[in-house]
């Protein structure tokens, strides 16, 4: 066997396990959901392939439209806020001072616990009988639990968004910190020495260099929020659920012949999420190119 062939073989053998595992476990289920959504689902007694009936049923419903807008709201607000605050924290933590490691330990703590832990914390603090309401009662701002604003189980989704922020400010913090570590403090210090204000030094020297990291982290945060299931289920209003919650509700419908609607739901969720991420990345690339052209 010649050298080039051997090299090709070793590349193939190296990649084969990971690629085949993901093909079976990741592509397989998606393909199955796709054909079922198009009407081939013998286990539900549905054999109408190909039909778009399940898609039109989902897309035509008010429930879907409401779920979509609430999903967008719950996904987008925490993405913007955690990007701003996470970046701010990362920049603050870069100052050379004692105790950064110790303090950042607590900021990174939410990152390593399940989202459900965040949900439990938000319930303990912000439920109507929770700790924050008790403190407000103690200082005389509210007289009973009913006076406390409904943060959980309301369509405003404050509880959901608080859990996301609890997990994602630290996430953005870690991603941006690692990018910052790569660029070193010298340029920023030079800008400051030359008379730039802290904000100008950040805006013109640091920000352009960490921007790709910010884009990546906000993209991952949005992608996660858009498909999150257990948090909106636990802390959201009963109706409307977010898209993933509605999808699983369709899957548990007593009329099993309607269950392919769940598959239509997940295909729509995947397409929407992918489409939004694609547009976001394209807008970023264009902006990057226009900036590079100057």
């Amino acid at each position: 066997m010649n050298k080039a062939r051997r090299r090709q073989l070793s590349i193939f053998l190296g990649l084969a396990p990971a690629l085949s595992v993901l093909t079976v476990l990741f592509v397989g289920p998606l393909a199955l959901a796709l054909i079922q959504s198009l009407g081939y689902a013998p286990i539900f007694g549905v054999r109408e392939f190909p039909t778009l009936r399940f898609y039109t049923a989902v897309l035509g419903s008010t429930r879907f439209r409401l779920a979509f807008w609430y999903t967008m709201l719950y996904a987008l607000v925490p993405t913007v806020l955690s990007t701003i605050f996470g970046t701010w924290l990362a920049v603050a933590a870069r100052a050379r001072m004692r105790g950064v490691r110790f303090l950042s330990f607590f900021v990174r703590l939410p990152l390593v616990v399940p989202y459900l832990v965040g949900a439990a914390l938000v319930v303990a603090l912000f439920a109507n009988g929770g700790l924050v309401a008790r403190v407000l009662f103690a200082v005389g701002i509210i007289q009973n639990t009913g006076d406390f604003p409904r943060i959980l189980f309301s369509a405003g989704g404050w509880g959901i968004m608080l859990v996301y922020l609890f997990k994602q400010v630290p996430f953005t913090f870690v991603v941006v910190s690692s990018v910052l570590a790569g660029i070193g403090p010298e340029l920023q210090e030079a800008a400051r020495t030359l008379g730039a204000s802290p904000w100008r030094a950040f805006r013109h020297v640091v920000l352009p260099r960490i921007f790709p990291g910010i884009v990546t982290s906000s993209l991952l945060v949005f992608a996660f929020n858009f498909q999150s299931y257990e948090i909106p289920l636990l802390l959201g209003p009963g109706f409307p659920g977010t898209l993933p919650v509605e999808a699983l509700r369709r899957f548990q419908l007593p009329t099993i012949a309607r269950r392919p609607e769940a598959m239509a739901y997940v295909m729509i969720i995947t397409t929407l999420s992918g489409g939004i991420l694609f547009l976001y990345l394209r807008a970023y690339r264009r902006w990057e190119r226009s900036r590079g052209g100057v």
Partner: protein, 284 residues
């Protein structure tokens, strides 16, 4: 300059309080027996109530066999260890290949290996459940471990690829020049040097698996309980500041806490750590 350092410290301190402090009321709540509205501290503590209740409460309940915490904990550990080992085993050759070779379609391969992180888990999960029912592995350990591979594998590949990229290929070539076979060079030279990175990948894989909820929930069908699925039920049915839920939250947070401490101890350049161990080995 001095003022900006001061305000930075303030920002970071406030953040540390915001993210760390919420755990404190749960520590208090976990030792409470009665914590009625509008008390700021529990009215009665666990140790006061011991023996006065027909069945154990709070921590006593969690650690009694009726809570099911033991099996859920063991399931989480077993599934986590199996998932992280399997993911690292599968990711290792792929990461090595991606770090060492340039080839046509490499970008597509890298993209494909990352996509599971972005694609909605509910979309994979529902299809996977149907597939696993057909294969007869739904509601089994095998099924859950395979399901957990999907979110874990991309990270394992990513971490291990960067570990191999940071590793100077010269060492391997020198071993080969000195007569080691490819396998020997990998096992005796490359592997010991990437060990810290490998440990990081294993820890990270374990952590992802231990934190997964939806895929476990779907594939286990309620038959196999893990810590996150158990916590889900407690939050769903418990009151705020309920002692048992609070205790469970602390237990569920423990693996992450251990991970954070371990990874802080391991930080530093993994390759540098690998080299120092090699030097120490040589000295012995």
């Amino acid at each position: 300059m001095k003022r900006s350092v001061l305000s930075s410290r303030m920002v970071l301190t406030i953040a540390a309080l915001l993210f760390g402090l919420p755990f404190l009321p749960l520590v208090v709540a976990s030792f409470s027996f009665r914590w009625h509205w509008p008390d700021l501290l529990p009215g009665a503590w666990l140790w006061d109530a011991r023996g006065t209740t027909p069945f154990p409460v709070g921590w006593d309940y969690l650690f009694s066999p009726i809570s099911g915490l033991g099996p859920a904990f063991l399931n989480t550990m077993t599934i986590g260890v199996a998932t992280s080992l399997l993911a690292a085993f599968i990711a290792l050759p792929a990461a090595y290949t991606l770090a060492r070779h340039r080839f046509r379609g490499k970008e597509a391969v890298e993209f494909f290996l990352l996509v599971p992180v972005i694609v909605p888990q509910i979309a994979v999960g529902i299809g996977m459940l149907l597939l696993f029912i057909r294969l007869g592995i739904a509601r089994t350990y095998t099924g859950i471990v395979l399901a957990h591979l999907v979110p874990t594998l991309p990270y394992s590949v990513r971490i291990l690829t960067s570990v191999f990229q940071n590793l100077d290929p010269d060492y391997e070539e020198q071993a080969r020049t000195l007569g080691a076979s490819r396998m020997q060079a990998f096992r005796r030279v490359v592997l010991p040097m990437v060990l810290p990175g490998l440990v990081t990948a294993l820890l990270f894989g374990f952590l992802i698996s231990a934190n997964v909820f939806l895929l476990t929930f779907l594939i286990s069908g309620g038959r196999l309980e893990t810590l996150p699925t158990m916590l889900f039920q407690f939050i769903e049915s418990g009151a705020p500041l309920d002692a048992t839920t609070a205790g469970l939250v602390l237990i569920v947070s423990a693996p992450g806490l251990v991970f954070l401490v371990l990874s802080d101890l391991l930080t530093g350049d993994p390759v540098a750590i690998g080299r120092t161990t090699l030097v120490q080995d040589a000295k012995q």
